[in-house]
Symmetry: C2
Subunit: 364 residues, 2 copies
Amino acid sequence: MRELTVELGERSYPIYIGQGILNDITALFDRAKLSRKSPLLVVTDSEVAPLHLERVMALLRAGGFNATSCVVPAGETSKSLSQLEGIVTSALQAGLDRSSAIVALGGGVVGDLAGFAAASFMRGIRFVQIPTTILAHDSSVGGKVAVNHPMAKNIIGAFHQPELVLFDIDLLLTLPPRQVKAGLSEVIKHGLIWDAAFTQWCDDNTEKLLSLDPEALGYALYIGCKVKSIVVSQDERENDLRAILNLGHTIGHALEAVAGYGELLHGEAISIGMVGAAKLAQQFGYSEEIHEVTKGLFLKYGLPVSIPPHLDTDSIMSAMMHDKKFKEGTMVYIIPMEIGKVEIRKDVTVEQVRQIVELLKGRG
Amino acid sequence: MRELTVELGERSYPIYIGQGILNDITALFDRAKLSRKSPLLVVTDSEVAPLHLERVMALLRAGGFNATSCVVPAGETSKSLSQLEGIVTSALQAGLDRSSAIVALGGGVVGDLAGFAAASFMRGIRFVQIPTTILAHDSSVGGKVAVNHPMAKNIIGAFHQPELVLFDIDLLLTLPPRQVKAGLSEVIKHGLIWDAAFTQWCDDNTEKLLSLDPEALGYALYIGCKVKSIVVSQDERENDLRAILNLGHTIGHALEAVAGYGELLHGEAISIGMVGAAKLAQQFGYSEEIHEVTKGLFLKYGLPVSIPPHLDTDSIMSAMMHDKKFKEGTMVYIIPMEIGKVEIRKDVTVEQVRQIVELLKGRG
């Protein structure tokens, strides 16, 4: 089992990564001093429930925890205020109190939704993440939780740190190949923004990662979580540094919105976005190699590197204008300076981004 | 103009109280460094809008602020997730960004709803309170914001401190007498929990307060806000001391829920609750005088001191069981030890509270 700590003063918490560690769930809950007296609510979705819910509930109950569960429909549409209300109904029916915790068992959607429920129920109760996707290595670290509004993604939310993150590699072995690739996109991102050696390692170990080799996957998740936790520790509330985690996300989020959430997976959308940012880096005078390496890596992982041509450029640009990354009219953009290092630029014009979007359509 | 500071480290903020100080709104916004570049959203309700909205908007625009407004229906039912979604729609349409602020112009409902919108929009933007009721002297200080769930009041919310509170006495002069009395109930509460001299002052100045004498009202609001801010400064997130602010609220909230929100005003419900707590104090061996003074004071202010007999005891008790003040099955209760001093007891049994409820029905 690998272990690392997200350093946030009194809100610090551990991340455990390893194969089969779900068996240690009650010991890890005890280490986090979760209450056995107050009810726990396990929130999961309709795809994860048949695979893992029964076992999680059995382990918790065997360990003396008073656990209830709540299942939401799988998919991004569950990140809504109405599902939030449903979780609160379950929490009230189960008798959750201020010493209770909500456990998110699932991918990013479940983590974000259940996390916001924990952040807002009784103005904030404790929260545990048990990710079941590779992508969730990203969303489960850092405390950003949210639901969507029909007009904008992740626009209603909070910063609410979990008590612990329990990442059991075994829960990832049933992931469909498309989800595996899309999840690895964020893993690769953590190399691109922070760690050139890890980027090289990702290049050298593509086959192992795509075939879910437990040792390779455990290492990649460890490094991904570690990079993210270092960044988050230095800037919990995204005042500055944390923005670098958004590499590829400006275009990526717009593509997800325009394609309709679900047509392009998040990891797919940001792989296109990261290729776009690398292209922009070239225009700002940085080495062409950044674009070559970035694009080559995503191609090797079978991830998309160009925008589906049927997506309208005006719609993509308009979706971007609603994005949270615009501050007082100025566009904030994350640009790679070299592999493993990015900068936060505030001088990127809408016109420059439009050109990149055009470039990515067909000729990315 | 009276001024006081709620001391909360980097989240400290000023409260301004005075007659006609709305005219200084842009100077006070400048002092809080609110942005003129980023749009402001003023949230108010359908009762306050015809009285004050036009003037507030005109003052803000004349001062160079980019202000938009959003009006919700008056009444407790607006403290809902669907109204929250509506405010977020307005915020997105107005182009609010991370440097924007939401301004709550209204009573407790508007403050709680708009405050939770500010707490969760983009994971938290800035927030200003302009209370238009006496009761809001309480809700506008301390950063507790929330919406209701069909099964429980204030159950979905956050701690989110405002940048400033602007309390213009002139906005209170149109309040209907029932609202005045109900608002003064929380003012009196602040005396009962913290300040015996102020309790005596309230007894001596009943006529002045009920007739909205500006000098008396300004002083009472100042003391009320001051007591609340001292308590909040010492315990922002209600781990211990802050619970004393809930004097009268355990029974009060249950009465509001059972009577249907609106039949009993909040201030009316807690005046009954405070008489109940004083009765309980007697049973715990404290002086009978507490009950006499408490009841006498509320009678003098024309506030109810007994439970309407048609409200069912079982329903009241069941509503209480859903309340947030139950921690791990134990009942937490605020009991006066003398006038101006209360204690937090954790040993109050459900049976003792039921007896008090029965006593308050007809023989309070």
